[in-house]
C-alpha cells in the first residue's frame, strides 16, 4: 500500500488552454471557420497596414519649409507644419495670436475643472463656462474694447472658427432647447403644438438647407438697414438646428424623472417655474449630460458644413490650402490631418460620455 502524505507539487496549467497559446486557441483559432477568418484578415491587415505605416511614418518628411523637403516618397507632413498656424488660427493677425491662446488655455482649465470630479463648486464653474466665458471670448476674439484692436469676423478661421461655431451652437441652444422641451410637454395646446412643429421642422431638414436659408434668406427677412454678418447668420442657423436636437435630448430627461417628483413639487405649492427650476430641471439636466455631449459631438462634426456657405473652418481652410499651386498633390496629407484633429476631439468626447453613462447607470440593475 502506498501512502503519499506529502503534497504533490503544483503543476503549471496546460499550455494548450492557458497562456499565450491557450489565448490564441480560444480567441483566434477555436473553429475552422474562425481560423480561416483570422488568417484572411491577418493577411489583409499586414499587406495594407505595412505600406500605410511606411507611408505615414517611416518614409514621411516632417521638417522643412517648402515642398522641396519632401524627397522620401512618403507622406509630406511639411505641408501641414508649414501652414499649421493658418490651420489653427485662420487669417487672424499673427500679433494677436496670444488672444486665442489665452482663450484656449482658459477654456482648457474650465473644462478640466468641470471634468475632474473633486473640484469644489463644479456647478458654478459650469455656469461660468456657459454664461461668462462666451462674453469674455467675444471681447477677446473680436476686440474693439479694452484697448484690443478689432479683428473682423471674416479673418476668423481654422480650428478657432470650428470651436467658435460648435461652442456658440451648444451654449445658445441649451436655454432654447430647455424652453422648447418644456413647451412640448406643456398642457397649453398652442404652446405645445408650436414647440412640436418647431422641433420637428428643424429636425426634419438637413443642416445644409438651414445654412443656405440662414445665409440667403435671413438678409431678406431682416429690415434693410441691418446688415447681418456672415458668421452671425451661420450661427443663427446652427443654433436653430441644434436647439431642436437639444430639446429632444432634454425632453428625454424630463420624461425620465419619476412622476412623484412633479407631484411632490405641486404638493409643496411651488409655482411652475419654481417646480421646474428647483426640482425637475436640475435632476433632468444631470441625467442628460451624456446625451448633450453626444449632440455636441454631432454638432462638432457638422460645423464642417459651413464650408458650403463660404466660411473658413478647419476643413475649408485646409481645402483651400490644397489648391495652392505650390503644394498641389498633397490632398491626402491635408485630409488626414483634419481627420486626425476631428477624430481626437470626437473620440475623447465620446469616451467621456460613455464613462458618464456607465457612472449614471450604477445601482439601477443595468447591464455591467
Amino acid at each position: 500500500m502506498i501512502i503519499n502524505d506529502k503534497k504533490l507539487p503544483d503543476l503549471p496549467p496546460p499550455t494548450s488552454t492557458s497562456g499565450p497559446i491557450g489565448w490564441l486557441r480560444n480567441n483566434l483559432f477555436d473553429t475552422p471557420l474562425n481560423s480561416i477568418l483570422t488568417l484572411v484578415i491577418g493577411y489583409l491587415l499586414v499587406t495594407n497596414l505595412v505600406p500605410l505605416i511606411q507611408w505615414a511614418f517611416i518614409d514621411a518628411d516632417w521638417i522643412g519649409d517648402s515642398r522641396d523637403a519632401c524627397t522620401s516618397g512618403g507622406a509630406c507632413w511639411v505641408f501641414v507644419s508649414v501652414r499649421l498656424n493658418q490651420f489653427l488660427y485662420g487669417f487672424y493677425p499673427e500679433s494677436e495670436y496670444w488672444r486665442i491662446n489665452t482663450l484656449f488655455v482658459l477654456l482648457g482649465l474650465l473644462l478640466a475643472g468641470m471634468i475632474y470630479e473633486k473640484t469644489p463648486k463644479r456647478g458654478w464653474i459650469a455656469l461660468f463656462t456657459l454664461v461668462v466665458f462666451p462674453v469674455i471670448a467675444y471681447f477677446m476674439l473680436h476686440g474693439g474694447s479694452f484697448g484690443l484692436p478689432v479683428v473682423e469676423t471674416h479673418k476668423w478661421g481654422g480650428l478657432t472658427l470650428t470651436l467658435v461655431l460648435a461652442l456658440v451652437g451648444i451654449v445658445a441652444s441649451l436655454p432654447i432647447g430647455v424652453m422648447l422641451a418644456l413647451g412640448r410637454r406643456s398642457h397649453m395646446p398652442i404652446v405645445r403644438s408650436f414647440c412640436t412643429i418647431f422641433i420637428e421642422v428643424w429636425r426634419g431638414v438637413p443642416l445644409i438647407t438651414i445654412l443656405f436659408m440662414a445665409s440667403v434668406m435671413l438678409p431678406l427677412f431682416a429690415p434693410e438697414e441691418i446688415d447681418l454678418d456672415k458668421l452671425v447668420r451661420a450661427l443663427i442657423g446652427i443654433t436653430l438646428f441644434q436647439s431642436a436636437y437639444m430639446a429632444e435630448v432634454i425632453r428625454a430627461g424630463l420624461q425620465a424623472i419619476p412622476k412623484g417628483q412633479y407631484e411632490a413639487a405641486d404638493a409643496m405649492g411651488l409655482s411652475y417655474w419654481k417646480k421646474m427650476g428647483l426640482i425637475i430641471l436640475p435632476q433632468a439636466l444631470k441625467i442628460v449630460i451624456p446625451g448633450i455631449v453626444n449632440t455636441f459631438i454631432a454638432l462638432f462634426k457638422d460645423t464642417s458644413l459651413v464650408l458650403i456657405i463660404g466660411l473658413f473652418d478647419l476643413l475649408a481652410i485646409v481645402q483651400s490650402a490644397l489648391a495652392d499651386p505650390k503644394w498641389l498633390g498633397y490632398s491626402t496629407e491635408g485630409y488626414v490631418f483634419v481627420a486626425f484633429v476631428f477624430w481626437v476631439f470626437c473620440f475623447a468626447m465620446s469616451r467621456y460620455s460613455q464613462y458618464l453613462e456607465r457612472k449614471l447607470h450604477t445601482g439601477h440593475g443595468a447591464r455591467q
Partner: protein
C-alpha cells in the same frame, strides 16, 4: 380642528383672474399667438420690401421657364431646354437614387460590422471596433472630399484604365460596367419571377398553418431559394436566353457603351455607406446585446438548434430594438445625402437650391420647396415607423 382654515377668506371672493391657472394659460397663449403672427407679419413685410427693392419676382412662375443649363446625371430625359420645374424632378430623383443605394449598402455593412464586433474571434471583433470608432468620429463632409479628391481624382485617365474584370473599367471619369440588354421574351422571365414570389408567399403561409396544426416543420427557406433559382432559370433557358450584355469599349479618348457610374456618385456612396455603417453597426450591436442570454439558453433547453435559436428567438427580439434607431439612421442618411452639393453630384440641393436658385434668385420659394421635400420624406417614414412599431410592439398583459 377647532379653527376653520378658511375663516379669514370671505367664501364669495373668487381668486383674481391672474391667479387662476386656466385663465393665465389662456392669456399666455393669446399673447403667444399675437407674438407669432406679429413676427411673421414683420418678416413677410420686410421680405416683400427687400424683394421689391432688389427687383426679384415672387411666385412659382419660374418653374415653367426654360432652365438653360445641363445636368451631369439625369434619370429622366433632360436638357437645357427643359423647365426649372423639371430640374426639381431631376434633382429629387438623384437624391432618391443615392439615398436608396446608400441605405441598402450602409445597412448591409452595418449589420456585418455590428455582428463582427460581437464575434468571438478577437481579430474580427477588433477590426470592427477600430472601423466603427475611426469613421464615426470623422465628419462626413471630410470623408466625401477624401474619396472624391484624394482617391477618385487621382485615378488614371481612360486610356490607362484599371481593368476590374467582367468587362468593367475604373478611371478618373468613373466606373464603367456592362449594362444588360433585354431582348424580346425577357418579360416571360419577369412574369415567372413574380409568379414564383407569389408562390413562395403561399408556401410560407401553408407551412405556418401546418406547423401550428401538426408541429411538423418544412425547410421553407431552402425550398423557396431553390424555387427562386430554378423556375425563372428554366423559363430563361426555355425562352432562349433573351439577355445580352453591352460591354464598355475604349473608343478614342473615352469609353462607349455600357453604364457609366460617375465618380461623384461613387464618392458620395462610399462616404455615406462607410459613415452611416458605423452608426448602424452600433445600433445592431446594442440590439443583439439587449436580448438577454436567458433567451438563448431557454431556446437551447427546448432543443432548438443554433441557427433556429438565432432565427426564431434572438433576431425577432433584437429587431424590435434595432428597427427604430435604424430608421432614424436611414433618415439621417437621406438628409446627409444633401452634402452631395460639395462635390457637385447633382442632387436636389445641388441642382435646385444651388444652380436653379442662382439662375432665378427666388430664394424663398426654392428653399421652402427643398425643405418641404425633406420634411415630407421624414414625415412619411415616421408615420410608417409608428405603424410598424405598433405592429411589432411587445404585447403585455
Amino acid at each position: 380642528m377647532p379653527t376653520d382654515v378658511n375663516k379669514g377668506v370671505a367664501p364669495s371672493s373668487k381668486p383674481k383672474f391672474w391667479n387662476d391657472p386656466d385663465k393665465r394659460a389662456m392669456l399666455f397663449q393669446v399673447l403667444m399667438i399675437l407674438a407669432i403672427v406679429g413676427f411673421f407679419y414683420y418678416v413677410i413685410n420686410n421680405a416683400l420690401t427687400n424683394l421689391d427693392n432688389r427687383g426679384i419676382t415672387t411666385g412659382f412662375g419660374f418653374l415653367s421657364q426654360a432652365a438653360g443649363f445641363d445636368i451631369l446625371l439625369t434619370l429622366v430625359p433632360f436638357d437645357s431646354s427643359y423647365s426649372f420645374g423639371r430640374t426639381f424632378i431631376v434633382g429629387l430623383l438623384n437624391t432618391l437614387l443615392v439615398s436608396f443605394l446608400g441605405i441598402i449598402l450602409a445597412t448591409l455593412l452595418g449589420f456585418v460590422m455590428g455582428v463582427a464586433r460581437l464575434s468571438h474571434n478577437w481579430l474580427v471583433a477588433k477590426v470592427a471596433a477600430v472601423y466603427i470608432e475611426t469613421f464615426r468620429n470623422i465628419p462626413l463632409l471630410l470623408q466625401i472630399f477624401f474619396w472624391y479628391v484624394a482617391v477618385l481624382q487621382t485615378l488614371p485617365s481612360p486610356r490607362q484604365s484599371i481593368e476590374l474584370g467582367a468587362g468593367s473599367f475604373l478611371n478618373i471619369r468613373g466606373l464603367y460596367i456592362p449594362s444588360p440588354v433585354f431582348e424580346s421574351g425577357f418579360s416571360a422571365v419577369v412574369i415567372a419571377l413574380v409568379a414564383t414570389i407569389i408562390g413562395i408567399v403561399f408556401l410560407v403561409r401553408w407551412n405556418h398553418k401546418r406547423q401550428d396544426a401538426t408541429g411538423k416543420y418544412f425547410p421553407v427557406g431552402w425550398a423557396s431559394l431553390a424555387l427562386l433559382i430554378v423556375v425563372p432559370g428554366l423559363v430563361f433557358l426555355l425562352a432562349g436566353s433573351p439577355l445580352s450584355w453591352d460591354y464598355p469599349e475604349l473608343r478614342g479618348f473615352n469609353f462607349r457603351g455600357g453604364t457609366t457610374i460617375i465618380p461623384e456618385l461613387i464618392a458620395l456612396l462610399l462616404a455615406l455607406t462607410i459613415y452611416t455603417g458605423t452608426f448602424i453597426a452600433e445600433t445592431v450591436r446594442a440590439g443583439i446585446l439587449a436580448v438577454s442570454h436567458g433567451q438563448t439558453e431557454a431556446a437551447h433547453a427546448l432543443g432548438l438548434s443554433n441557427s433556429r435559436t438565432l432565427r426564431l428567438v434572438v433576431i425577432p427580439q433584437a429587431m424590435r430594438v434595432i428597427i427604430p434607431p435604424l430608421t432614424s439612421q436611414h433618415l439621417n442618411l437621406i438628409k446627409n445625402s444633401s452634402l452631395a452639393t460639395a462635390i457637385g453630384y447633382p442632387d436636389l440641393v445641388s441642382v435646385f437650391m444651388g444652380t436653379t436658385l442662382n439662375q432665378t434668385g427666388q430664394a424663398i420659394e426654392i428653399i421652402f420647396m427643398t425643405m418641404a421635400v425633406y420634411l415630407t420624406i421624414n414625415l412619411l417614414v415616421s408615420l410608417f415607423m409608428n405603424w410598424y412599431n405598433k405592429r411589432v410592439a411587445l404585447v403585455e398583459r
